[in-house]
Structures are given as C-alpha cells and as structure tokens.
C-alpha cells in the first residue's frame, strides 16, 4: 500500500477533488456562453449564406473557411493579442492614442474566441438543417398567405430546431472540452486549477485523472439530458 501510494495516491486525489471541482462553474459558464453566442452568430451567418446576401455571403464564406482551417489554440492567441491592438487603434483613430485600455478579464477573451469558433462550425450545421427542411413545407405556408419571414418563424425554424437540438448539445459538449485550452490565457477553470495543484504537489498524474473524470462526468450528464429532451420534443408518430 505504501509503495503504491508513492506512485498513485487515492488519498491525495480525494483531498484535492473539492478544490478542483470548485472551478467547475467557470468551465461551464465559458461553455454555455460560447455555445449560446456561437449559435447566435451561426444563425445569422447561415442566413447570409442561404439567402446569398451580397457581400455578407462572401464574408461569411471567408469567416467559416478561416476558422475551420486554423487551430483553436491559435484563434485564442489571436483574440488575446489582437483585441487590445484593435482597441488601441480605435482610440488612436479617435485622437486619443494614450487612452487607457480598460482591462479585460482573461475569461472574456476566452469566451470571445470560443464563440467565434463555435459560430463558424454551427453556421454550416444550421445551414444544412434549414436547407434540409422539405420545400413543400414552405410552399404550403406561402399558399396560406404567410410571408417569407412568417414562414421562417412558424414553419422552418420550429422543425429545424428539433433536428438542431442534438447538434446544439454536441456543440456544448465540445465547448466544455474545448475550454480546457482557456488556461493558456490564464483563465482558472478546472484545467487551470489542476495545473495549480499539480505545480504545488508534483502529482500531475492524479490531478489529471481528476480532471478527466470531471470532464467525462459533465459530458455524460449533458448527453443524458439531450436524450431526454429529444424524446420530449419528438413529433409523435415519428421515430
């Protein structure tokens, strides 16, 4: 027992779980914000693409291709270093080159980066779902006198939502996991807390076992919730 304890201490793990777990709210907060803001962005980007809005459609295409073609970690750094520069330039253009930059919380940079990333991925998902809604559904609405926007609101989106929901939950799960990169801009979430504990005790392996179990637990809970919600929203008589 003594020997094993030297390499892998369950006792240590039990002692440190509460501390690391106390940062769960930060992890979940980032993931919730990134998913909601991301899908909000994604919805508009998808609409620009579907309706081929001039200029915005091309911008949307570039945005999606750029985000999907660069690593998330690079995007976080670009946000972290880029936003202060943009703010400074903005001040300079307004004739106040030395105006102080209001300090941003690290978590704000992380949420911005994750939202922009989620926006690009969800835009393609949303576009595919909206396009997949049978054209006949829209035509039936038109024939009753609904306008294009009424048709979107009453017919297309409610049907799209049912298809999108599992994907929204998957996106949430991947954001929960993705936020583990937020420590690189010094956000203290469960990953950040784990690094602190690891550095203090040199028991990195135990610490990351805790982190792995925590991530896995959250993902499983969301997955369960998704199944439940899918069942609840299912149109009766469909499989």
């Amino acid at each position: 027992m003594e020997v094993i304890n030297r390499f892998f201490s369950v006792e240590f793990m039990l002692k440190e779980i509460p501390f690391i777990a106390s940062y769960l709210p930060t992890t979940i907060f980032m993931a919730v914000c990134a998913t909601l803001i991301g899908w909000f962005i994604g919805f508009f980007v998808a609409m620009f693409r579907i309706n081929r809005v001039p200029v915005l459609n091309q911008l949307a295409g570039f945005y999606i291709s750029f985000i999907r073609g660069t690593p998330l970690m690079v995007q976080i750094y670009l946000t972290y270093y880029g936003i202060p520069i943009i703010i400074t330039m903005f001040h300079a253009l307004n004739g106040q080159p030395s105006a102080p930059i209001t300090p941003f919380l690290p978590i704000a940079f992380a949420i911005i980066a994750f939202s922009i990333n989620t926006g690009a991925y969800s835009a393609e998902t949303i576009r595919a779902i909206v396009i997949s809604i049978d054209k006949g559904q829209r035509e039936a609405a038109f024939s009753l006198g609904l306008t294009a926007s009424q048709t979107m609101r009453r017919i297309v989106l409610p049907q799209a939502f049912r298809v999108a929901l599992p994907m929204l939950c998957n996106s949430f799960i991947s954001n929960v996991l993705g936020t583990s990169l937020a420590f690189i801009v010094s956000v203290v979430d469960i990953m950040g807390a784990a690094k602190l504990v690891g550095g203090r005790s040199y028991r990195y392996f135990e610490v990351f076992v805790i982190v792995a179990i925590l991530y896995w637990l959250i993902s499983s809970v969301i997955q369960r919730f998704t199944y439940w919600l899918e069942n609840k929203l299912r149109i009766p008589g469909t499989s």
């Binding site: 038109f142 024939s143 009753l144 006198g145 609904l146 017919i155 049907q159 049912r162 149109i235």
Partner: protein
C-alpha cells in the same frame, strides 16, 4: 362573370418549355377539370396561378385585377394568395403541428384571427370532413385519406374564392378515392371557383363544368366534360382517353381481384 382569366402564360425550366402560351377563362362558381399526361405541365400551371412558380410571361386577371406575371410585386402576390386555396398532391401538411394547428395556421399567422376563434373555425371544418376525433393527431399519425382531408380543411378554412387541387386523390388507395371525391364534390357545389387536376373521369362528368386536356405545355382541347370525353375532336385527346380508360379498367380489375381474395 369571369373570375379568373389566364392569358398567354409561359414558363420554361432551363429552356424546356413547360407552359407554352396557356389561355383559359373561368366564370365565378364554375369548376374546371384539367387532364393530361404526366409531364404535360398541369402542376406547373397551378403553381404559376399561386406564384409558387414565377411565370416567365403572361397575364392573370382575377376579379378584374390584372397582374403581369413578369412584373408582379410581393405585395400583389400576398394579396392574390389570400383569395386562393391550394391542395398539394402530397398534401404538405406541417409535420410539427397537429391537424387542428395545421388548419388554424392560415387564420392565425397571416390573417391575425385570435387563437380561440381560429380553433373553433378549424374544428368546425375538420368536423365537416369527418375528422372530429383527430384534432390532436400529427400528420404521421394519420392515414393518407385523413391527411388529404386535413389538407382540404386547411385550404378551405380561409374561405378562398378560388380553390386549386393538384391530383388530390392520386396518392390514395383506390378504395378511398370515392369517399375523397364525395367531399370535393360537395365543395365544388358550394359556389367556389375550382380548378382541379384529376384523372377521375366520374368526378369530371358529375361535378365539372369544363374539362381541359393539356399536352406538352399547351391546351389541346376544352369543352364540357361530356363533349370532351365522348366526342373528342383531337387525335391526341382520343389517344390519351383511350389509355386512361384502359388504366381505369385495369385498376378496377385489380381492386375487384383484391376484394375477391
């Protein structure tokens, strides 16, 4: 009084002339049955009347309001659609709504009828097509015949002046066709102006004032149903009717055989 006049209606898909100068007129309260082989442009004709398809050229006169199909505005389209009911060949019921909500939708959203009132109206129409026990059923929980009646109820509840039906019974099992046609006949006699694409000759004989034979995007022949069916003037009409009689006979034989088994 002329309710609907179609002048020189043209529509091509990628150079394929699907409607090649259609001219038709229909008086208020009359019923027109349109027949023709598959691909002759019947569906496209109905869709152009409702602007689900934008005709390339031509003029529509509805109640003396002239519309140039090339230059019609969104506002005009919405105004015209309010007068026109459309029953799709495959019904296109809203999949996420119950039968009752399907019928209510055209009242509530575009016309602003309060939900309570709309529900009463929807139920009355559903009752009249024999669906009093299906208010809360979703389309997937309904049989083909029931779906079709919901589609008719949905088109009728808005009290359209003109009703367009695209082969309303073609997706039904043969034994359900008679009953469905009974309902449509009742509507036809209610004073509505109706254009119905159908190959049910008995319906055309009994309920239609005009029969129109279409082929390759043109009107080949029109007349009252008895004239057109019993004494067609054009060779193409004769050929088509001969085939139709044969198909109907085969269908009937199949049905009889099934019943014997």
């Amino acid at each position: 009084m002329i309710k609907l006049r179609i002048e020189n209606l043209r529509k091509s898909f990628d150079g394929n002339k699907v409607l090649d100068g259609i001219n038709l007129g229909l008086e208020a309260g009359k019923v027109m049955a349109v027949l023709g082989p598959s691909g002759s442009g019947k569906t496209t004709l109905l869709r152009c009347l409702n602007f689900l398809e934008r005709a390339d050229d031509g003029k529509l006169l509805i109640d003396d309001v002239a519309v140039d199909c090339k230059a019609v505005s969104k506002k005009q389209i919405l105004a015209l659609r309010r007068k026109i009911g459309f029953v799709f060949q495959n019904y296109n019921l809203f999949r996420h709504m119950t039968a009752e909500k399907n019928v209510m939708e055209g009242l509530v959203t575009p016309r602003g009828v309060p939900a309570k009132e709309a529900r009463e109206m929807a139920r009355a129409v559903l009752d009249s097509v024999g669906l009093a026990d299906k208010y809360y059923s979703y389309p997937t929980q309904l049989s083909g015949g029931e779906q079709q009646r919901v589609a008719i109820a949905r088109a009728m509840v808005i009290n359209p002046e003109i009703l367009l039906l695209d082969e309303p019974t073609s997706a039904l099992d043969p034994e359900l066709v008679g009953e469905a046609m009974q309902i449509i006949k009742k509507i036809a006699r209610s004073g509505i102006t109706m254009i119905i694409v159908t190959h049910e000759m008995s319906f055309a004989y009994e309920a239609a004032d005009y029969a129109v034979f279409m082929d390759k995007g043109t009107i080949v022949e029109t007349g009252n149903p008895t004239e057109l069916f019993d004494n067609p003037q054009e060779e193409r009409t004769r050929q088509f009717l001969k085939r139709l009689h044969r198909d109907n006979r085969d269908n009937r034989d199949n049905r009889d055989n099934r019943e014997k088994e």
